[in-house]
Symmetry: D2
Subunit: 348 residues, 4 copies
Amino acid sequence: MIKAGLVGVTGYTGMELARLLSLHPEMELDCVTSRADAGKLVEDIYPFLRGFKSGKVVISFPETRELAERCSVVFLAVPHGSAMEMAGPLLDSSVKVVDLSADFRLRSTAVYEEWYGLKHNQAKALSKAVYGLPELYAPEIREAELVANPGCYPTAGILGLYPALKNSLIETEDIVIDAKSGATGAGRKASVSTLFCEVQDTFKPYGLPRHRHTPEIEQELSAIAGQKMTVSFNPHLLPVNRGILATIYTKPRCGQAAETIHKIYAETYARHRFVRVLPPGCLPELRNVRGTMFCDIALVPDERTGRLIILSVIDNLCRGASGQAVANANLMHGLPVETGLEFAPLAV
Amino acid sequence: MIKAGLVGVTGYTGMELARLLSLHPEMELDCVTSRADAGKLVEDIYPFLRGFKSGKVVISFPETRELAERCSVVFLAVPHGSAMEMAGPLLDSSVKVVDLSADFRLRSTAVYEEWYGLKHNQAKALSKAVYGLPELYAPEIREAELVANPGCYPTAGILGLYPALKNSLIETEDIVIDAKSGATGAGRKASVSTLFCEVQDTFKPYGLPRHRHTPEIEQELSAIAGQKMTVSFNPHLLPVNRGILATIYTKPRCGQAAETIHKIYAETYARHRFVRVLPPGCLPELRNVRGTMFCDIALVPDERTGRLIILSVIDNLCRGASGQAVANANLMHGLPVETGLEFAPLAV
Amino acid sequence: MIKAGLVGVTGYTGMELARLLSLHPEMELDCVTSRADAGKLVEDIYPFLRGFKSGKVVISFPETRELAERCSVVFLAVPHGSAMEMAGPLLDSSVKVVDLSADFRLRSTAVYEEWYGLKHNQAKALSKAVYGLPELYAPEIREAELVANPGCYPTAGILGLYPALKNSLIETEDIVIDAKSGATGAGRKASVSTLFCEVQDTFKPYGLPRHRHTPEIEQELSAIAGQKMTVSFNPHLLPVNRGILATIYTKPRCGQAAETIHKIYAETYARHRFVRVLPPGCLPELRNVRGTMFCDIALVPDERTGRLIILSVIDNLCRGASGQAVANANLMHGLPVETGLEFAPLAV
Amino acid sequence: MIKAGLVGVTGYTGMELARLLSLHPEMELDCVTSRADAGKLVEDIYPFLRGFKSGKVVISFPETRELAERCSVVFLAVPHGSAMEMAGPLLDSSVKVVDLSADFRLRSTAVYEEWYGLKHNQAKALSKAVYGLPELYAPEIREAELVANPGCYPTAGILGLYPALKNSLIETEDIVIDAKSGATGAGRKASVSTLFCEVQDTFKPYGLPRHRHTPEIEQELSAIAGQKMTVSFNPHLLPVNRGILATIYTKPRCGQAAETIHKIYAETYARHRFVRVLPPGCLPELRNVRGTMFCDIALVPDERTGRLIILSVIDNLCRGASGQAVANANLMHGLPVETGLEFAPLAV
């Protein structure tokens, strides 16, 4: 069994990692850390894990040395800034690192500093980081020491736009990504604004028009399109636990037929088990991917307005964070990307 | 007291009308009809109205003659098609009619027939119909015999765009309305697709890209802008009971400063109690209008992308249907538009 | 207009008081305090109140002297302990006080100290306090200087059991109150355990078997029955915002027919507009009282098991806290108890 | 691979069986039937199963002969009455049957006919039926041709009470089971009363005091206790998709210490992976078992009232229906009961 470390078990990404590694056939939680809950068992804070081996792991203070000695791979599920501090020493100890924070996603430290308001002091580590979107970068991930696990919104947006931009099927101007996310995306910090009664039975935009995932989306789309791209990305908070639905407004390039575009999408993702291109006329919804790695994509041509609407749906916690982190760790250890991630969605 | 008739009490718009007229100081439910529930009391089907006078009204079969004799105004809360059948005879009997269906909203019977797939056979009544958006058409509504109560999405979209289009502040091309609605908008018909377990904890688009409210929105925006407009309107279903949030993507005309636009919005709606233009930096949410006539509007300029995002929020059942119907009936009887509609939102 | 003070606007009871007093015809918010939000407008923290006079009130630090000078009545919507500190000085300044905390509900300071773990140092004020359940104590409330506003669970439980115990219709032994409450009951404090994702789509018991409302329920039931009573009271947390449903398991005294019991309930509450005794066969539900003062009660006789199940439903925030506080303030000022509280429930 | 048939795929139990058998390592869906959806693929009605082999199964009309020829086991996920019609011919064809309806749960046809209002015409099949609660009847299930899959409420109630009654730890009189269930329990039929807007943000009792699961619970508890038992069983509808929480009020027999009772529970279920007896002080909640076979049980002694409150939580769809059906089919084929059912709960 591959020994895995989890730094920061108390957030929702840590919680989801604990779930996913509880039944992984080749990887297991060995070292779990949290400043707040050190000394407790994992099952004390997550009683749903009673009866699993992972539930009996004792939570410890985060110690780089111990993590490096005991683990083959360490998942950093801590806020940005904190992740940066941990990554360098871990890499120096030759342990593989999958960072779920934003610290190693942006190639430019200047852009990072502008959007995150924080000095980036790990340029060396950053230079080694691979952007962990398996459908695009599996070969690089297999060789990586440090994987920057993509943000949830970028995962939905990039997978939704990749075949279209890669194949120059749409204009690169004027793209609007209107995204809606479940509340796990807001984290597991004590806060009035994410209390049940503040989120239940309501809906609202937030972070407009400068959400921090914007430069990450633009960086990756630009790389795909081979030209600098600017997009309008605008998120909203849904009264659901899990899931992101991105409604992406694009304009097909002149002469691109809807059937052709659909065919190219289907071919692009044909060998990727976790991306499902829906047949024409079929629209995606959050629940169809709940608890899984699936990204469901639909293409809606609109002749009246000359647009192509792309709908991309993921589970923000699994595909958009911890599941993708496990997929990356699988690749880094030479395992098939799907190992331990073959779930049927819990649609109701 | 003004005597009101309600045709079709069993749907959500009928239910909301029953709520609103239970405490209206100048108007009361006198005649309530439903084919399915004739013979019962209103409180038998709506036990929340026990203890109210309206709860004791006996539901009857819909009879034009009786409605005309007993009522000063009749609300038609039945599906399109059925409303058309009722409206003509009622108008002939000199009773005022507020139609909550789509039957008299579109000026062109051809457009109606194209989008609703139904023959329009009430051209005479249609020629008298006034579009019942009080902020735009109060003078005409005061004189009207027949008011076509606006659709819920059009109400949110038109109020959100009105000052910008009226004053040529934005381009008329390329407008995208990404709208999200609560499930009361789907009606109160027995149906698997709107069962609790099919809507709860999920989210999905529907009706793309040809929802029936599209021509209504385009008709009204075109009238405001003074030129034919095409918009991309795309709705989604939220796991909440009430509320619509429309995220409207526009482009300011060259030289229009964000401050100017905000000022014009504030001035336009200054005398309209039920439209609240939020201060810059403040974003709207569904719950802030729950159960009320308020339309909350925010303007988000985005310099990076050269856009102006307009957010418009209403309660789809109250402002987007039954409350607006009562407001129209108020105007038709010479009452202040706000009569009986002064609620504080039930924000939690 | 009666000038009202509100100490502690940031909790859910404060928020609900702000809603209720926004349209009260005889009482208005004059002085609103909060340590955390002093200096802001009410509408800054509660944007749903934009457009209301109450939204424009400036929040101040809590100052007894200012409250006493400006207000005729002060609502204490602060935690127990804090309320005790405020009440004495306010009463000394001859302002009427409605305390929404638990500080003046229990007649015995020893019982208070046992269950709340806090020294009670306001014996004098306590001796003046009237238990503010209008259906039982309206005459005393009209004369009171200090009203101890009942807890939410006690309100549901006592109203449900009152006619049965008062008239010796049921055994006083072995009563079980299985109660379920919406999450507003858990307060508006930043806390992980009441985050949206921790409450949504789940359900759990809490506080078993020693919830703090137990001695309050037992005190009042004992007073009604004229003998010391012990009950088993067990609450659960519902994934809804508002509402309490108490399922109360009792045993009818020998010879008491279901019809008789129902008749006595109906008669007891006949003159009380806000208690609705449902007809036999009709079961209550939370939504039928949402946003209102109604308490809906149903009686379910079960011959198989020799039980009488009493179901009692209220809105925990309105009837179970702030609405009842306004009702008490109404009575204290010689107004009809219903003044400003005549709402139709927002059933969907 | 064991070939399984599924009669009635369109309900929630059918949907859950389709999910569970999509990844079962030893059993697969071979024959799926539905009168309404014959001719479609499973993935056409359940798009969450795209990409799974089970999604590609063509739905057919239910034909006993075909089912018998192709399958080793048939799951009947149709309403009571219909199940009875299918079971006899299938058994005659030597196919194993797991019936998820109520048709073979009650030993007495008279009791069945009284509570279900239907003639029971399969006495021969009934005589062979084994009650499929694996913790109690695994040896019998292994030999069974026909397993009557327990109801959801009985599963929660019986597992919660089994050790206490088996070991005479509690009185057999005066037991109250106050149960709360998610809305999947109400089925997937088009119906106004289970529409999203009728269930969301509310809560209500139903079926009081004669829910059809009562005789099943009493039959099984009587068998365990060795004496005829009557219980008060009262269900409520929660605004959640999955899960049952039963709050069971009992009285410990004289002299039974809480520690002893807890120890006996722990020992009773020590070898049963899917029952988790929580440590003292720990309370269960629905989400901790979501999507799984776990039954979480807590014991809350209450000295003040002389009671023992037993809390029992399951996922009504998985443990309370389809998962338990798969467990039974596992046993009937000589597999370990847990095969294909080792899920970690999706707690958020």
